[in-house]
Symmetry: C2
Subunit: 325 residues, 2 copies
């Protein structure tokens, strides 16, 4: 069984990569930018190049589905790059193709706040996808970079689903019906997403879970089963949002970037300044096998567990990561 | 016969690409940065991506020798990217690998002036290759980016030849014995270059020629024959330095960048503010066949003409553009 996690942002180290291998993780989509400029993002890619050099026995770079199969065959975890925000392309649509050439396969159009492309899920008003946003979607569609609306607002997300000529993704979020927080998604969004061939990655980040850190595996997996009924099991995968070993300072960077003073808290649901503890049954990247067991206990067939644990993402990557036909 | 030009910086347009095709040019190493920062260089790559999209019937991107053979077979001109200066990597050795991933295969360590890596050929004193310069050479050697010392000073060039673990290039210059200007190279440099497996691309830029714009083809080709005797014919190619259709403002950018006020002239040999006329027998990229004829008349055998017109560069690219063994 192939295991793919469509969102991780851990404090990368050999210990984390070891945990991935213990968990049988064949591929992780990893975040390489939140609020970074273009050059700052290149430096992050530079740091990853060094990780590939140092830990080439555990991880390898991946830009297409074939790379992931090759990683699985070699007993390594394939690493796919993505942005949680559009800051790396600055004001230049042409940087989409350049970052694609460097291995970036996902970009969120906005992260919590308004961006030049779309609104974030914590804004009071929702701009929808903007004029520049449409140009960037066209370019992402052309080169094969997946539009990710995990942190975007509802109207913006529906616009992106509708406007994009290729299926889009919400790599890490849960249904609002499970935990009603701004980051989770309405049934209307989830049905529209699936209706256009898109994918949802179910999140294991406590603020997105019913009862947070004490959410049970059974509760999570029952939600997964209900979501499969809503969307169709072929549109469901995992996007854990796992942030192993990250210091609190990183949480401040993710939330505050350079746009506000770090101490400010605006009452948003996940604005607390500390990392919440992970659920006991999903504490690290070593815990994917237990998740698969939980899905089976919640009524997924063996074939369906395989789909949700990785095969759906692999199929989606195969359709999405290359140039438009 | 394969024709490769190891340096052009024309004002790229369909007319220029048409001239390349008329001249049977199979590959051009094109300059994409003089004084540009990292992000500015990415924008230049973005502009090239658009040229590849619009003129894909005439040109194609190339990153290895196989790509050049494929271009030749398809009747297109292969485009290899290079920098005439180290400004795109700013202060970060890790950007070498990132630009290599984007197709950059040559970088000069300095352009006329002192850089953080090495001295330029117009400086009063010659730093040699610096501490950062050695780190960058190590990284260029590792990933497969060719060190080009065309605009560097003598000691710096000798240092680079000596320090680099892989052969380097002087993509566009002539022997000082032919025209004694700071940009041309001493016999000592040329012999050291060849001694370590390096390549010289002979320049057709008038300030590098005996008698400038009125240099005859016979004079140029006789110089080529003497240089082949000095270095060995296998170390010789063409690097025309052709700058077709460029406005005078571009010359100011090349020479002055942002480091001095545009009007200043410091008495350097090629500091004149206008483009010199090309020799009548090499006015555009359509004129490579006449150059091959001239080499034959100067006594090169048919096999040697093939080497100098392209095969030597192709062999060098095949050895140089990939990761170190």
């Amino acid at each position: 069984m192939l295991t793919i996690d469509a969102l991780q942002y851990s404090n990368w180290s050999r210990a984390v990569f070891d945990a991935m291998r213990r968990g049988g993780l064949d591929c992780a989509h990893v975040t390489i930018a939140y609020h970074e400029t273009c050059v700052e993002t290149l430096r992050n890619i530079g740091a990853w190049n060094r990780l590939f050099e140092l830990h080439g026995d555990l991880i390898m770079r991946a830009g297409c589905a074939e790379d992931i199969n090759a990683a699985a065959a070699a007993g390594k975890t394939a690493i796919v790059f993505g942005f949680q925000n559009c800051s790396p392309i600055e004001d230049d649509y042409a940087l989409v193709e350049i970052f694609h050439a460097l291995g970036v396969r996902f970009m969120q159009l906005s992260y919590n706040n308004q961006s030049p492309l779309a609104a974030g899920c914590y804004e009071a008003r929702d701009s929808g996808v903007t004029k520049f946003g449409k140009q960037v979607i066209d370019e992402m569609n052309r080169v094969g970079m997946v539009i990710d609306m995990s942190h975007s607002a509802e109207r913006s997300t529906l616009d992106a689903i509708d406007y994009s000529s290729r299926p889009i993704a919400i790599t890490h979020a849960n249904p609002s019906s499970f935990a009603d927080v701004p980051r989770n998604k309405s049934d209307a969004v989830l049905k529209a997403l699936a209706g256009r061939g898109g994918m949802l990655g179910l999140s294991l980040y406590p603020p997105h879970l019913k009862h947070g850190s004490v959410c049970t595996r059974e509760s999570f997996c029952t939600m997964a089963a209900r979501t499969a009924e809503l969307m169709g099991v072929e549109h469901l995968g995992i996007g854990s949002d796992l942030c192993s070993n990250q210091p609190a300072a990183v949480l401040a960077w993710m939330r505050d970037g350079r746009w506000r003073k770090p101490a400010a808290v605006d009452g948003a649901a996940d604005a607390a300044p500390q990392w919440p503890p992970q659920p006991a049954w999903f504490e690290s990247a070593a815990d994917y096998p237990g998740l698969a067991d939980g899905l089976a206990q919640a009524g997924f067939s063996a074939a369906e567990v395989e789909r949700v644990m990785g095969q759906n993402w692999l199929d989606f990557f195969a359709r999405s990561f290359g140039p438009a036909a």
